[in-house]
């Protein structure tokens, strides 16, 4: 996840002070308290240096506000329009599996079974979460989870295909 583009996204909407950015980033990334405030300030310094963000005075409580520059806006829009290559832990598994094939690893079947169990567990957890999100009416997160599930389904189909060829 990118703190840089998270900040640019938040400032695209309105000016924020540092602590507001931290709270909004936690919510944007869906993980509470995981982003180090220090990381936010160093990223802000870098964004200011690169002229993507600038200082916008103080708010009524004397907190420093930040805003997006036109260059920052362009940068964010460019990033948003760039397709993202799909990378998760499964890429590591593809690599590991390729290594196993390279050495004719005797326990390939076990590797596949274990990986399959991991994928299925993730599907079960995410299906439960998806149902809850739907009941809560959180359409965006529901669709995101559906996206992850489609990837997991593809992974599982691939593992099944490899297994069917071994058996």
């Amino acid at each position: 996840m990118s703190v840089k583009y998270g900040i640019l996204t938040l400032l695209y909407q309105k000016k924020h002070h540092g602590y507001e950015l931290k709270l909004e980033l936690d919510s944007l990334f869906g993980i509470k308290g995981k982003i180090n405030p220090g990381q936010i300030y160093t990223t802000l310094d870098r964004l200011i240096r690169d002229q993507l963000v600038s200082s916008a005075g103080m708010d009524d409580q004397e907190r420093k506000l930040y805003e997006l520059t036109p260059k920052g806006k362009d940068e964010l829009e460019k990033w948003l329009l760039e397709p993202v290559p799909y990378t998760t832990t499964k890429e590591d598994f593809f690599f590991k599996w390729s290594c196993a094939r390279k050495i004719n690893f005797a326990q390939e079947k076990k590797m596949l079974e274990q990986q399959k169990a991991v994928v299925i567990k993730e599907v079960m957890e995410l299906t439960k979460l998806k149902t809850e999100l739907l009941l809560q009416g959180d359409e965006s997160k529901y669709l995101l989870i559906t996206g992850i599930l489609l990837h997991l389904e593809a992974d599982l189909n691939w593992i099944n295909q490899v297994e069917n060829r071994i058996h």
Partner: protein
């Protein structure tokens, strides 16, 4: 609740005996939602048919609620099935010329005429599966998703202790499949029925508490639900 021991089923194909189930052992707890997955011909549907008393095993036992299905007479099995089990099939198996409410009421006729109470249950089920206003519509005029909702209501009308579903979403598109599974999940949460569902679709199986993977007539792997760190998935996905 459901106890399957050393369950074996052979079919005679010409001169050749094919062993479809090879001594399966399986316990399913009361109120558990179990999905059985596996490639075609792995024996998963045969297992469901034996659990539903629709066929008899070559060897081994099936107990439901302490009763041995394989030791019952044909007639006893039929009565047991009607009182304790509900079925949902891939191709819905509705009576096409009967209306929605007539199809749902169908299993009740065997036990005599429809009482006021039973009629109330039917109306409640029609509402619960989201088919209000379609009471009098003939089954053959409904969409696939609607037909499967009728089939679920029919399966539940007798308040069965076990619901057996064979590829319940196999003929449906993803949106309709999801709706059917959402309904099953809601009923499962409310009534704590034991559900055994055979499916080849991981999207459907994901709703279960436990997924049993079949291969070559036996259990290959069992995967149980664990409470996960959901936020982790979202974070990884957006990495």
């Amino acid at each position: 609740m459901i106890k399957v021991s050393n369950l074996t089923k052979e079919f005679l194909q010409g001169q050749e005996r094919t062993r479809v189930l090879k001594g399966v052992d399986l316990n399913i707890k009361k109120g558990e939602f179990v999905a059985i997955m596996g490639p075609s011909g792995s024996g998963k549907s045969t297992l469901l048919q034996l659990m539903g008393g629709l066929d008899v095993p070559t060897a081994g036992d099936i107990q439901i609620d302490g009763k041995y299905l394989n030791k019952m007479s044909e007639k006893e099995r039929t009565i047991f099935r009607r009182q304790k089990l509900g079925f949902v099939f891939q191709n819905y198996q509705l009576l096409p010329t009967l209306t929605v409410e007539e199809n749902i009421a169908f299993p009740l006729h065997a036990d005599g005429k429809l009482t006021k109470e039973k009629n109330r249950v039917i109306q409640e089920l029609i509402q619960a599966v989201g088919l209000e206003g379609l009471h009098r519509k003939r089954a053959n005029l409904l969409s696939g998703g609607q037909q499967q909702r009728v089939a679920i209501a029919r399966a539940l009308v007798n308040s069965p202790t076990v619901l057996l579903a064979d590829e319940p979403t196999g003929n449906l598109d993803r949106a309709n499949a999801e709706e059917i599974l959402r309904l099953l999940t809601v009923f499962h949460r409310e009534n704590r029925q034991t559900i055994v569902m055979v499916t080849h679709d991981i999207f459907a199986a994901g709703f279960a508490d436990r997924i049993i993977l079949f291969r070559d007539g036996g259990i290959d792997q069992v995967v149980s639900r664990e409470e996960g760190d959901y936020a982790k998935y979202l974070a990884n996905f957006m990495a």
